[in-house]
């Protein structure tokens, strides 16, 4: 029987494994009794002659698992397991559940959570001998080895980012593929100005913790600046109240950057409702009343995407969308004039600002993508080979690219 600390955890689990019991039992003696009314045992049948000395496969029904805390000496019953289960992950109680967390943590350290495990098999005829494991200590690790690939990948990506940023600083002519949707932002703002109608900008419906929202707000910074230059009214309805002050600050500073802080109206960036469809109703109503010439939908969207864009279409707006929600992209593509697909949304702020640092980072991401595509092709090939050929050296790759 084996009990070992679970690797790469916070230190509250032990893996317990036991070998399946497969014994043959020999029956020498079998008699059947029955109690009569005066509670005396009467022998009904003696089967000893028929089956004595015969061997029979033992039919294990259950395992009973116990543990002993070597710190406190307390013995505990853990559980009864079906016969086909031969492992268990034991977990101690979290110290967080104790009232005083600090006290609980100290107690946990003092108690030395070292355990010894005992197992016993149960068959219809008997309880097997108790097997005990070596003591195992619950230890927390200071580095998660399962995430080593993630660490390496992150280091590669960071390194490439720094390299291209340095290169972009010295060499201003880095080429990145133009995106149709972004080129149109200028035209779309200009169109609204010509028509004398406002612009609507929706930075998604998600919270600020969503990268798509931040990407949307980055684009808002560029759009707000252009709107301020042309003196076109801008509406930014919001669903998340944490995003509200951030969006207000962005639009305000965009106006002051082009030298028209007085033109900024605080009520143009406003909160509608945290409820998804109440928000949609609010924005659709806004489109019907204010008749914006251009709509921007940049960020995270869910089922409301089509309602928003189709309403905009009905009002005859030019619509530019960008989202990383792959389930909503088909709706955007069918109803909007231009759509930024997936990561194009993240790249947008580099295009708008033309900041060499940001342009360099796009280049770095492209290189990283190439690297990942290479890894996928290589990994697929090697693991397929390892499956087809039973060549032991290839097993290493199976291990390197585990299928989960």
């Amino acid at each position: 029987m084996l009990a070992v600390d679970k690797p790469n955890d916070k230190g509250d689990q032990i893996n317990v494994m036991w070998p399946p019991v497969k014994e043959k039992i020999r029956i020498d003696f079998l008699q059947i009794f029955q109690k009569n009314k005066s509670k005396e045992n009467l022998l009904i049948e003696n089967l000893a002659d028929k089956i004595s000395g015969k061997e029979k496969d033992d039919n294990i029904l259950y395992y009973d698992l116990f543990r002993k805390n070597l710190g406190t000496g307390k013995m505990e019953y853990i559980n009864r397991f079906q016969s086909f289960i031969t492992n268990y992950r034991d977990q101690r109680q979290s110290f967080k559940d104790t009232k005083n967390k600090l006290e609980g943590y100290k107690k946990m350290l003092r108690e030395q959570p070292t355990y010894k495990y005992y197992i016993r098999a149960i068959s219809p005829l008997y309880y097997s001998k108790v097997t005990e494991s070596k003591p195992a200590k619950m230890q927390g690790q200071w580095f998660n080895m399962e995430k080593i690939i993630a660490l390496i990948a992150m280091m590669v990506i960071t390194a490439s980012l720094f390299y291209f940023i340095r290169k972009a600083k010295s060499d201003a002519s880095l080429y990145i593929r133009p995106l149709a949707g972004l080129k149109e932002i200028d035209n779309a703002v200009g169109r609204a100005t010509e028509m004398g109608r406002p612009i609507l900008f929706v930075p998604g419906l998600s919270s600020i913790a969503d990268i798509a929202t931040i990407a949307g707000l980055n684009i808002l910074a560029g759009v707000a600046k252009k709107a301020a230059e042309y003196d076109t009214p801008l509406f930014v309805p919001l669903r998340d109240y944490v995003v509200l002050p951030i969006a207000q600050e962005i639009v305000k500073s965009a106006y002051s950057e082009v030298g028209r802080p007085d033109a900024y109206k605080e009520q143009s960036v406003f909160f509608v409702s945290p409820s998804q469809f109440a928000y949609v109703a609010g924005v659709a109503g806004l489109m019907a009343r204010e008749k914006p010439a251009t709509n921007f939908f940049m960020g995270m969207f869910w089922a409301e995407s089509l309602i928003l864009t189709e309403k905009g279409n009905e009002e005859g707006c030019i619509q530019i969308a960008g989202s990383d929600a792959e389930t909503q992209l088909p709706f955007f593509i069918t109803t909007c004039d231009f759509t930024l697909i997936g990561e194009e949304l993240y790249a947008a702020s580099a295009y708008i600002s033309k900041d060499p640092l940001l342009v360099g980072s796009i280049k770095a991401q492209d290189l990283d993508k190439l690297f990942i595509i290479g890894c996928i092709i290589l990994g697929t090939l090697l693991t397929t080979l390892a499956e087809l050929l039973t060549y032991p050296a290839l097993n290493f790759f199976k291990m390197l690219f585990p299928v989960q």
Partner: protein
């Protein structure tokens, strides 16, 4: 004057809306009864629960319980509610215990309501056949906690009962003690179940998703990480079809209709409702319960409901006395004290309770017949809508080609 092809290329959207509305409404009024074809992801789930029932019957034990995680709000309710209802019906019919919880407060209320509603219809008893643990947050500690110690993770149900006091929870320590886990989800929570509950604890999972999300889940079905998927309204319709057949086979639905008739004749004949009559009606309703246990089960159910009724009525007095009570034993006897002091009122209440109970029963039976076919009717409407949209697309294309040809 616009030419013909221009007109069919640019049909006014209001005309399209009106036609769609009409064709969707028709199947809701007149049932079309289109044939339902069964697909693998749903059949797998149905068979799994049936297998659970058969195994239990063979070994003479209670079926293994299922967990049910409900993660949808009002907006996805029309699509996900019928499948939740179907799975609950199946479980209650086969005596499979159901334990639910939710990761959103809105969903917790929805789950509680539907469980109580279907339980009433199928005669399941709270605490014995199902339990509801309500809103649990954050999700991850619960998902991991269920793998190591369910009691610690769930703690207390929505009615304030402790885990150890709920009979249905007895013997449930970890995922090992349950059969299947359902996640009805309008968000990505089902992925969290797959990543943690399946890969860490090897818990079998079935999910119910909205139509647009289904394509994301298919690869997990192929790899066996999911037992099955209830694929939007279509999946729910298939499940309803299975249940309808099953109820017919077990003569459940015909019994229920008969119950309704018996009940109606009773009320029309103006027979004073006595507990004996009530038992008669309910006996047929609860005919799935093993023999001998029935009287006890019914009494429990009736008592619990009646007790709640009393408690609600005397709530003010009860809370006033409760604050004065010294210990727990005294608190428990409070209700009985109040009842014995107000004998006349209790008689009146008993009568009112029975009346209310019957009214609720009547309403439920009448609506449940349509509720139980909700997804199938919905699919009829969807099928017609698909055909009409395809027709519109074809008309638009004909116009487009005519304009090109000219």
């Amino acid at each position: 004057m616009k030419s013909f092809y221009e007109r069919i290329m640019h049909i006014d959207r209001r005309i399209i809306y009106a036609i769609i509305m009409i064709v969707v409404l028709i199947p809701l009024i007149w049932s079309l009864n289109l044939k339902t074809y069964h697909t693998e992801p749903i059949t797998k789930i149905y068979n799994r629960l049936e297998q659970n029932h058969k195994n239990a019957k063979k070994n003479g034990v209670k079926p293994k319980p299922v967990f049910m995680c409900v993660t949808y709000g009002g907006s996805a309710k029309p699509e996900l509610h019928p499948m939740t209802r179907s799975v609950l019906r199946h479980c209650y019919l086969r005596g499979i215990p159901v334990i639910s919880f939710a990761f959103e407060p809105e969903a917790a209320k929805i789950a509680e309501d539907i469980m109580d509603e279907v339980a009433f219809e199928y005669g399941a008893v709270y605490g014995k056949d199902y339990a509801c643990f309500g809103f649990k947050y954050p999700p991850l500690p619960l998902i991991l906690g269920l793998g190591t110690n369910a009691k610690e993770a769930l703690k207390e149900d929505v009615r304030g009962n402790k885990y150890e006091d709920i009979p249905v929870m007895h013997g449930i320590r970890t995922y090992d003690d349950i059969d299947l886990l359902f996640d009805f989800s309008a968000s990505a929570s089902w992925m969290t179940w797959v990543v943690y509950a399946k890969s860490r604890f090897n818990q079998d999972i079935a999910v119910g998703l909205t139509g647009v999300m289904v394509s994301q889940a298919y690869p997990y079905l192929e790899t066996g990480q999911l037992v099955g998927i209830l694929t939007g309204l279509k999946g729910a319709a298939e499940y309803e079809d299975y249940l309808m057949k099953m109820e017919k086979e077990t003569e459940y639905s015909s019994m229920r209709e008969k119950n309704l008739k018996v009940y109606l004749t009773l009320t029309q004949a103006n027979i004073t409702p006595t507990s004996k009559n009530y038992v008669d009606i309910a006996e047929r309703l609860l005919r799935n319960t093993p023999e001998g246990e029935f009287e006890k089960k019914l009494k429990d159910y009736y008592d619990i409901a009646q007790n709640l009724y009393y408690k609600k009525y005397f709530a003010k007095e009860l809370s006033a006395r409760e604050s004065k009570a010294k210990n727990d034993a005294e608190k428990k006897s409070l209700l009985n004290d109040i009842l014995s002091q107000n004998q006349d009122k209790v008689k009146e209440l008993d009568y009112l309770f029975l009346k209310d109970f019957k009214k609720k029963y009547n309403d439920l039976l009448a609506t449940s017949i349509s509720e139980n076919k909700r997804a199938m009717v919905g699919m009829d409407a969807q099928a017609i809508a698909h055909v009409v949209i395809i027709l519109f697309i074809l008309i638009g294309n004909i116009g487009f080609f005519l304009s090109k040809w000219r």
